[in-house]
């Protein structure tokens, strides 16, 4: 069992991965593109750094470098994971040990230099929103752990004591149809309400611990929302829905939201934001992959086993009075079970 933590870094100045395809509603392209480009950039950056170190320190390429970026002893002593030598470069890529890191039992893809992170001004200047996606293949029983882990990473990345808004997205739900009216009806039977309500105390706990000032939901139609509100202690104050072309909030939902003091916000995310196949491709040996996973055809080295995406968290820090997005990015958690 290996826990993988994937990250995009700050994507607002990252170029093409933020560009929205015209008309492409509900997409995970931003996540997948920015992960891919961050992997690539990390491979280049850390390979360069290593090359510089090996020259200046006159030590071999497998040393931990020790002088810079990759803190926490991430490389030294961890040359072997899953019984596979990670030091072997695959397909011209630098070896995984160079650009990934182990910390607290998890493999960080890529390695993160936490010292360089944080916001430019004090956290009070920002509106920080985190959106947590519970993914369909992951066990519901672990959600407390996922939520904690996801939020911890966001707060560490931004060096903020809390997020202003934590939005939760449950699997198996969507707000789609010919028009929003239709979407609202279809929505009523979607998801797994028992699981969703059972999960909520986990989120409430984060709120009570002061880590999330306000809570929100995603993709809740009128019926689901009204049932949900009756069963929870700490009520969501936001419901994110997806809009297609018609731009009409179904009147029952609008009315309910108004009565209950819930803001209806817009989003354009996929609910199933990181399917297993996508993740495998991102980490795999293919042309667009990071070369972290073993190549089943050639048997070339790398990580092996079943991959299960568990959670994704998207975070955004907007300078409050200026409407400037200073930091936006994603973390994703996945489990690799050795065969």
């Amino acid at each position: 069992m290996t826990e993988l933590i994937l990250s995009t870094g700050n994507i607002v100045s990252g170029g093409p991965s933020i560009i929205r395809k015209p008309g492409a509603f509900r997409s995970n392209l931003e996540l997948t593109n920015s992960l891919r480009s961050n992997f690539l950039a990390a491979q280049e950056d850390y390979a360069l750094e290593q090359a510089e170190n090996s020259q200046s320190d006159d030590v071999n390429g497998n040393s931990d470098g020790s002088t810079n970026g990759t803190t926490n002893g991430t490389i030294s002593g961890n040359g072997v994971a899953n019984g596979v030598a990670l030091d072997t470069g695959i397909g011209g890529r630098p070896p995984a040990s160079v650009w990934t890191a182990r910390r607290d039992g998890a493999l960080y893809v890529p390695a993160i230099d936490w010292d360089a992170h944080g916001l430019q001004e004090e956290p009070a200047q920002y509106d920080i929103t985190a959106k947590l996606f519970f993914l369909p293949g992951a066990p519901v029983s672990q959600r407390a752990q996922y939520a904690k882990q996801a939020l911890e990473h966001v707060l560490r990345e931004l060096r903020a004591p809390a997020v202003d808004l934590l939005i939760v997205s449950f699997p198996g739900m969507s707000f789609e149809g010919d028009c929003e009216w239709e979407a609202d009806k279809q929505n009523a039977g979607q998801g797994n309400e028992d699981e969703e309500i059972a999960t909520w105390p986990v989120i409430e706990e984060l709120h009570c611990a002061g880590l999330a000032k306000k809570l929100g939901l995603a993709e809740y139609g009128t019926e689901k929302l009204s049932r949900f509100l009756q069963k929870v202690q700490v009520r969501p104050v936001v419901n994110q829905i997806n809009l297609k072309n018609c731009c009409n909030v179904p009147p029952p939902l609008g009315k309910l939201a108004k009565e209950q003091g819930i803001d209806l916000l817009v989003h354009s995310d996929c609910t199933d934001i990181l399917p297993e196949g996508t993740l495998r491709e991102l980490l795999g040996p293919g042309l667009s992959g990071a070369g972290l996973l073993a190549d089943p055809e050639t048997g070339a080295g790398g990580l092996q086993g079943d991959l299960t995406p568990q959670w994704v968290v998207k975070y955004t820090a907007v300078v409050r009075d200026r409407g400037v997005i200073e930091n936006k990015g994603y973390f994703a958690g996945a489990e690799l079970a050795e065969e």
Partner: protein, 679 residues
Amino acid sequence: MGLLALGTALDWPDAKKQAQLVRSWGIKQLLEIWNKAKGKERDIMLWGDEVEYLVVTYSKDDPKILLSLRQADILEALASDKALSKARCCSDGSGSPSSQPPPVFHPEFGRFMLEATPGKPWGIGFRELLEVEPNMKLRRCIAKDHMLPNEYPITLTTFPRLGSPGVFTDPYYPASGSKLRSQFVPDEIANPHIRFPTLAANIRSRRGRKVQVNVPVFRDEKTPWPWRDPTVNYDLHQWPEDDDVRNGAAPDNFIHMDAMAFGMGSCCLQITFQAKNLTEGRQMYDQLSPLGPIMLALTAATPIYKGFLADTDVRWNQISRAVDDRTPEEMGEKPLVNDRWRIPKSRYASNSTYISEDPRLRPEYFDADLVIDEDIKQQLLDGGMDDRLATHFAHLFIRDPIVIFSEDLQELDLTKTDHFENIQSTNWQHMRFKPPPADNSIGWRVEFRPMEIQITDFENAAFTVFLVLVTRVILSYNLNFYIPIRRVDENMETAHARDAVLQKRFFFRRNLFPAVRAPRSAAGSGTSTPIPSRPPTPAGPVEDEYRLMTVNEIINGTAYARGTPTQADRDAAGESEGDFPGLMPLVESYLDSVNVDVATRCRLAAYLELIRKRASGELCTAARWIREFVEKHPEYGRDSVVGEKITKDLVERVIKVGEAEARGEGGMEGLGLGGLLGR
């Protein structure tokens, strides 16, 4: 227009003698502000829009539409009404409870004009963006309420028959007054406040002749060719300047105009942004600069001058020429003897330099021949200003002050900025970089000035909101729009062409993002970057950084433009040189990243759709709409002449559109607006 001080205005020969004093005091005042305000930090994002109106008289039975010259009375009626916001206009059906104090009305150069601004600046709350349109409607409604029943505020950029033979003002005054000496418009066309006639007279006097505003005429099937402006009188002998037309001031195939009112009588839509600090202000100034010509072409609304269809679509160059105070020596027509330098552009022109200390700003982007006053630059450097900003102000200060009040010359008051503003505010470039006022109470600001006013407040709000969002996108994504400043000049010229939005291509930067991804740290501009960044890519030739693009590509992106090709897109087909993301997809990406409620996002979507379709040609510009209105009019003889009946019907339509818009949604049917607004 700022506050209008009263006093004794000096005529040109006397003003000229004081020019050096005003400049030197202006520089001292500038340094005073600079030292006080250079460290100002964390000002919040505030912004304001300015809408300008023409006031016309119209009644159904009167065959004539006239410009009302009652500006002063209307302003007085507005000023004396303390309960502006309680007017009947509040029940406009917008339903949005506004926290705004009543709007503010200002005089403008033209005595037939009015300017209105919101009662206080806007912030960046997204719901606040939705208050802009109701507020603009409120302004129009309040203005109308303080006019005579037959007077209407309209938002056409120019009055189609300004300067045409016959009567076009109410009341009527004869032309050829002593101040303007125009053979087409009376002195009374200008705001009577001493500042304005002095401005016009001193520009003319400094220049040594009248201003020459020549616009190419649109050649229609039956337009005589070569075309000689039939309204020009070559036989006037009242003023020395009457010789101008006999000396070639009115060339063939151009509509000839000869007074400041033809330019400064145009209405535009201007937006001013407050930056968080000096650095951000300079960044916004530079990055918005290359967008100026694009937004000018996209807002084109000025196809008629003096009763003729023009071959251009925008007002810009006409204003530029209408206030061009350069002498023949400065213009390069005579050897430099008395004047200090040749000056390539009018005081009203596109920006001539960049001002940011951005490392992405390459030396090649500057104009190597920028004219500056070296002594003034040295004073600014000695006073602690950096080279780039000192260069900018030393360029603005090559101009003479035009209007000087003798009362202001008694002693230098460093708690004021009047002398600095005298030069600064008569440099009408397409961007204006505004230092904080003397009391330092507000921040560094940047004014975006090229956009043309639109017929409806829906459109004016759409362009305003779009530009506000674009500034947030620029700052969030740290976009880089730099191209050589001379290319921005060229684009400004290109923007004038008839239907430039669909027919022309503009120089624009290929890649708005850094060539190398920023270090993977959160703090983009943090001081420590422990992760080694790759060596900077050696900068290639500047010419490779940009290419010609259509407005469709620039606004909507290459992918969208391929699906909705404009004529310019088709012309460029086959020489496609790489994809461009488009400003609109970047705005959408920004909106996807911030928390916006459904109703707000939908309203914003309507604005963005208008811009998108204007850029792709799915909707037409006001200029195209007006041209089509004229072309389809039964009285139009295909000879470029826009007669009184056509003018009346056009303005009547515009008034009806305004009334329908004020009544609320749905009243626009039958007004022929489908092609303009798409609804």
